[in-house]
């Protein structure tokens, strides 16, 4: 399993974590290239079915990251998102999705170093879970996560 490279779908808020990823890049901070980023206007935009869809299409992990509570560009988007995450996280944990597959974080656009640390950790945790075999479609009629 040592050559297994996980595929991770990352949902980043445009106003913070996406900026942090940018800053990490221009600061030449090294982080693993295992995730495919989907840019959102706010974590409040994230419909839980996007996360399920990513898993269903074969993603090994999902990482959602947005602004720190209190710092939302739209005042309260991430507060509302947080309540949805609490429920979805609990639902997936109860139904038997390994805890290491789904990650949430708050990373501001200035926190390039936190971004690097969390990115490395997320990839390692998903790698430890191994390929996603239990929570994906048997036949992926449509494009699988590239």
């Amino acid at each position: 399993m040592s050559d297994f490279e996980p595929k991770i779908v990352a949902f980043f808020c445009n106003w913070c974590t996406y900026g942090a990823a940018d800053l990490a890049g221009v600061s030449r901070l090294d982080y693993p290239p295992n995730f495919r980023v989907v840019r959102l206007p706010c974590t409040g935009r994230l419909n839980p079915k996007y996360i399920l869809e990513a898993f269903k299409r074969g993603a090994d992990g999902v990482w959602v990251s947005g602004c720190h509570p209190g710092d939302c560009h739209y005042i309260a988007g991430n507060y509302h998102a947080r309540r949805k995450f609490v429920l979805l996280h609990h639902m997936l944990e109860t139904l038997g999705v390994e805890p290491g597959r789904l990650h949430f974080s708050w990373i501001s656009s200035a926190e390039a170093i936190k971004f690097q640390e969390v990115a490395r950790d997320v990839v390692e945790k998903v790698r430890a879970c191994g390929p996603n075999e239990s929570f994906r479609k048997a036949e992926l009629g449509l494009a699988e996560v590239a």
């Binding site: 429920l87 609990h90 639902m91 109860t94 239990s134 479609k137």
Partner: protein
Amino acid sequence: MMSLEDLIKKIQEAAKRALKEGKAEVVLGYQAGTTPMAVAPLFARTEGDCDKLVWSNFAKTNLSTYLPELKDKKVAIIAKGCDARSAVGQVVEHQIPRENVYVIGVPCTGMVDLEALKSKEARPVAASDEDMATIKLRGDGWETNIAKEEILRRNCKTCICRTPKMADEVIGDEVPSMTPDDYADLKELAAKSPEEKMAYFKGMVKDCLRCYACRNACPLCYCPVCFVDETRPQWLGKSQDEMDTFVFHLLRGFHCAGRCTGCGACEAACPVGIKVREFNRIMEEEVQKDWNYIPGLDWEQKPPLTTYRPDDEADFIR
């Protein structure tokens, strides 16, 4: 306790009164079904219609499912506790105007689980009769009585709202509530490994035909387009893929978070006997634990996912 005949008389009187006093143009209630052990919905518009109204231990559907479609009319609904809670939920979610719904609450001692009944009496039933506590069945050359207590639905055993006190009027004698659900089975399940949990829930839904009867029977499922019917993009495949079925049940349960009143209409509607409410219970427990919220008890309450607190706890977010 009031007899079933007296209760039916009171329901008919209340329905006629609601029509006469202009509280409603139509009264939603139950009428006798065409087969044994069943009732059908009745939309009573005249006094004559009201004479057909009945009450039964087999009234397992939730009539508030019809309310959003009738939101422009003044509707009175004959509601047991869980139905009344669903109507409250639809009002606080702004699906029906408060002034257009008049809830006639009927204290309820629980409804019969047909699966449990079949396990006690497997012979084909030709006719049924009932009073408040006993189900009387007749078949070809046999007759038997079953105590209702022994064949109650699971959700009725943990009902917290047997008497809908928030209703506009309550008829019949008040009935004390049951001990609330302690979610012991979910707590036990939480200690198991992810593989065991996944196998348990996949096994639970393996017979699902995806007929969506659970969705159609549910008073919460009023979206104009359900996620299962969306095609661009298509979130759920149309085949019998195990994962599509699993995600359907997962999301259906998720969408009921903080809204499900445990009326059991989904399970009663399921043609293959899937315990679909298990998914709702997962959310029910979490919503109660995190935000101390129980849906459908108060006309003024604010649904938990439409609001927030700056100090909401979420220790899994780093």
